[in-house]
């Protein structure tokens, strides 16, 4: 393909090819300093290409293809090419990842222990992880948690944080401007702006962590916390996994051990400051 970018994020290597320069330039900029795929061999290929040859120039629209493709994935306008690249990488993970059990969750780490946060879109797990990543925790990822069935450890997958709508202003107030990508208006999910993980997240990218607490956050309610039993956590985490079924018995073993050994809490929070305080309190209790 005409333009390409190779990158390793955590343990996973990607090769992104594009018919246009812009998305690759944006990736190069925001992923500066990330390593190459291990041995130069990418786990997954993503292709950003026009649906029809003339659509490269005429109202260019970016179709998201690759090793794994959804037949009904709608193309995006070229101005949202960075988002298309990120979605393409997500898609490869969701459909193709078989080494790690993939949980739709964000992860942060402190003192070698990992905090796993999972919930529906809009529950705030992404913003919360990004914020904690600026407040003394190591950001490990905001989209997928990678659970190694062999060791029970979580591997970091520190992709760009995809901030949506109100979260964009909250984070721009906190973080230097050079870590942000372009503001993408009118995407299928509203306004999106990508945030580059900080130096600490990048330098410790290859260090896995043992899970110590699982949170199921819910945004927009008065602060509250309740214990989540092992069987409820199991059900919710299988629902949050794209490859649980495809991975078979190793996934069953890993997930049943996780929910048996690691406490779970459902938390409600009215605002992100309240959430940070609540997380700190529950963390102290969990590690006590």
């Amino acid at each position: 393909m005409r333009y390409r970018f190779d990158v390793r994020i955590g343990p996973v290597g990607f090769r992104v090819g594009s018919a246009w320069r812009q998305p690759i330039a944006a990736l190069r900029d925001l992923y500066a300093g990330y390593p190459e795929p291990d041995g130069g061999i990418a786990d997954f290929t993503v292709r950003l290409e026009p649906e029809r040859p003339w659509r490269r120039y005429l109202r260019p629209s970016v179709a998201i293809h690759g090793d794994f493709t959804l037949p009904d994935a709608a193309p995006l306008p070229l101005a949202q090419g960075l988002l298309a690249a990120e979605m393409g990488m997500n898609l490869q993970m969701a459909l193709g990842q078989r080494r790690y059990l993939l949980l739709h969750a964000s992860v942060v780490e402190r003192d070698g222990w990992a905090l796993l946060m999972t919930g529906h879109s809009g529950a705030g797990k992404s913003t919360l992880a990004a914020l904690l990543g600026e407040r003394g925790w190591r950001f490990m990822g905001d989209e997928f948690a990678l659970l190694d069935p062999g060791t029970g450890l979580l591997h970091a997958f520190p992709r760009l944080v995809s901030l949506k709508n109100a979260a964009i202003d909250a984070m721009t107030a906190e973080i230097a401007a050079d870590r942000f990508g372009p503001l993408l208006m009118g995407t299928p999910k509203g306004a999106i702006r990508h945030l580059r993980p900080n130096a600490a997240a990048l330098s410790a990218m290859d260090a896995p962590a043992r899970p110590a607490l699982i949170l199921f956050p819910r945004y927009g309610f008065a602060a509250a916390a309740r214990p989540v039993g092992a069987s409820e956590a199991f059900v919710r985490l299988t629902q949050a996994s794209t490859n649980y079924v495809a991975m078979g018995e190793p996934a069953f073993d890993a997930l049943s051990v996780l929910v048996r050994d690691v406490p779970g809490r459902a938390i409600d929070y009215p605002d992100t400051e309240g959430a940070v305080a609540l997380v700190e309190r529950l963390w102290t209790e969990a590690l006590a």
């Binding site: 069987s231 079924v245 018995e249 069953f252 929910v259």
Partner: protein, 91 residues
């Protein structure tokens, strides 16, 4: 006599007991089932050979203490569900 069912040997299953429910990983299908009592017990009772609901209740009563009234119907209903997911099979 009711419908007689048989089950795979216990080695075909991995059972994990959690707080309220039990998880069964069924190796031949690669499927996970989340079940509650008395499903694991019913499957246990079938390790001694095929049986119908009544015979299973008789076997259960040898090891567990419960009111047998309505138990045959309840076990028959569970067996039909287990048949649908392939954990038991008509002989």
């Amino acid at each position: 006599m009711g419908i007689v069912y048989r089950a795979d040997p216990p080695s075909a299953r991995c059972l994990v007991a959690l707080d309220a429910l039990d998880l069964i990983y069924h190796r031949p299908s690669g499927m996970t089932h989340i079940v509650s009592e008395p499903v694991p017990q019913i499957l246990d009772m079938l390790t001694n050979g095929p049986a119908d609901a009544e015979a299973i209740v008789v076997r259960l009563l040898e090891q567990h203490d419960f009111d047998p009234e309505g138990a045959v119907e309840a076990v028959a209903a569970r067996l039909a569900e287990l048949e649908a997911i392939g954990l038991v099979e008509r002989t």
